[in-house]
Amino acid sequence: MRRPIITTGSKTDVRLSTEPVTRTGVELTGLALEKRLKVKRSAAYVEAMTKLDAMGAVCDHTKVQELIRSIQGEFAELKPHQFLIGLVSKCYLGAPYEVHTLDMRQEIVEHYKAGQPLPSGMEKARALAMHPSYAFIEVYSDAICAVAATGYVAFTRGAGYVQ
């Protein structure tokens, strides 16, 4: 049988979509997100975060924004809603201050006295922040990352979370 020159049986439907597509990378979720959060932190980032005390008791807003930018730079793959809620670390300003926090939402650095509760769910990281093994503690909505001075990260869902 001769091959038909014009095929009428099958039809290839080509549709061209004109809708704009924004490609900003795949959102990390579940284990992929956990894997990302466990990655060793860069020395520059650890250094920047451990110098919160150096700013004194009252912190300049532009400096806070610089810190927030360095956090965003460290976690470039994360979506804004996946960023940490805040950062807690031991305060070396001396008594009566015990810990200080960097609140990502309110964009402020605040120092807290012993017994004064921490806002935005950061209280659960307080005891860990006081531990000498960790430089600072990153608090996420469903996890805590304890970062050592070497940049190594210990990850936990924490005692305050449902395991």
């Binding site: 992929a32 894997k35 005891a127 936990t156």
Partner: protein
Amino acid sequence: MSNERVISTANLNFIENSLSQLRGEVQFVSGQIESVGHEVQSVSQKVLDTQAKIDALTQDFHEFVKRDQMAKDLQLAETRVVKIRQEIETKFGHYGEVRRRVTGILQAVDVRLVKKETIENSTEEHMLAAPRYWLAPCLIALAAWLNDNKELADRAMMEALRRDDEKTSLFFALVTRRGSRYKASREWLDRYFALQDPHELEREIIILIDGFTNGIFGPEARAKCGRHIEAWIEELSQKVGFVEEQHKQWRDALEGKLRRLSGEAYPYLRKYSSTWTQLQQSLEGAKLHAIIHDYFQDIFSKEVVPAKGIAVAVDALLDTLVSKFDDEELPLRREERLQSLIIEENGDRNAAQSRFGVEKTLEEKVSFTQLLTNFAMHPETSHASLVTQKFSIALSKDWIRQAHDDMTVDNRAKVPQQIELQIDGWKGTTEQGANEQELVESLTQHIYRRRDEDLAWVKLSLKHWSALIGGLLLAVFGFGAPVLFLFAAAGIFYFFYSKSRLAKLRLKMIDDYEKLLQSCKDILRAVLSDVVDWRQEYAAEDGKAASVTEFLESVASEQYTFSSFDTARSVIQS
């Protein structure tokens, strides 16, 4: 007016008598109620005592049932192990003959003591006796090779490959290496590697890893092995969730080393704090650091004794290859392992089951990283040598460190900040055990409040006062009828006797409460001393976490491959 007076006099007498009678009856009823109250109180105390006894009995009973079940399970496991071993012997005993021939033939040929015909005849007999067994045609191929019978050797080899490709390839890789046929050995190894999927490896891969770490293969083959291992790890690490699974596997393995705290540690804290369970878990978790550190250090401090020569080393591997990894035997071997664990755990089936679950050494196919975990944590059941164990730990050190870090931060996050104390109905909290003064004051107030509440009940009641008033009235009327003096004296005596008895009772109660307070204070001080000791011990044990990290940092995998059998230097870096 006169009418009013008459009515008034008559009615008052009647009412007074009636009231007096009523008062007597009310007093009687009140006395009855009081005595019933005492009865109820004593019955309620007895009920509480009985309840406590029943609780203790129930606990003893449950303990007894558990022990009895464990004893039965232990006995059953001991019987089963024997039965399973007999079954293995009955079903696969004839394989033993074939297995022994492998190294037998090789060693006989080494010293040239046995005629080639004898070897040939003997191997053919075993081919008939062990149908379906991959090793039988391997033996024929070996014998034919030794007799220079290429055609038979090829045929037998093809049959062996058909029966079990992987084991045959590994077998010939080792046999040819033993005979210093490097090229042939390399080709067999290449074939073996080509068959492997790092996600699903056969258990006998341990022979290859052991050969690699013990320096059995030549320099080129060793470099090849090293590259394959690196590539496998790289491939596995790319898969999402795989590294996390390794962390979990390692965490389970590390937590498997947890030891329960002695039942005699911190007796006061254990008895008088509702926070004890968390404190116990935290301390056990902290003590794990030292256990893990000692475990790894012990492995790395052991000296590796190399085999006397390449032939001895390969023979040992061949023995393991032919005797430990036959899938037909696997279900029975698995059951045997479970029963052995039940015996090790003294009949505790649940503990044995959980250990068995963590081991995963008798799975048919496992991933390369699971194998590394098995080699590191269960070298006996996975048949790994000491060098392989060291190599596996070194290769997995990043996963171990991460698992250990996660476990540590979890444990630290769960340490209770406030410790609850309960002593004889009193409740208090302490953080470091330093607020003794404040707690003693609170305890004293609590005991005094209870004492005052109890003392309030110990006072002269209506019946005592009635006896006194009745006695005085009778004494007045006694001038008319002297016999009433006797009753008056009895009433007044009863009043004063009761008063003195109650005074003594109050004194005794005050004294008892003082003693109770003293004893509670002593307990409180002992509990606070336990709290201080606990915090100190926890801090000391928790501090050892850093030593595990430091130790793991100091380990490097390339240090732990052994190369004593090489006569040539490794030109290509592995």
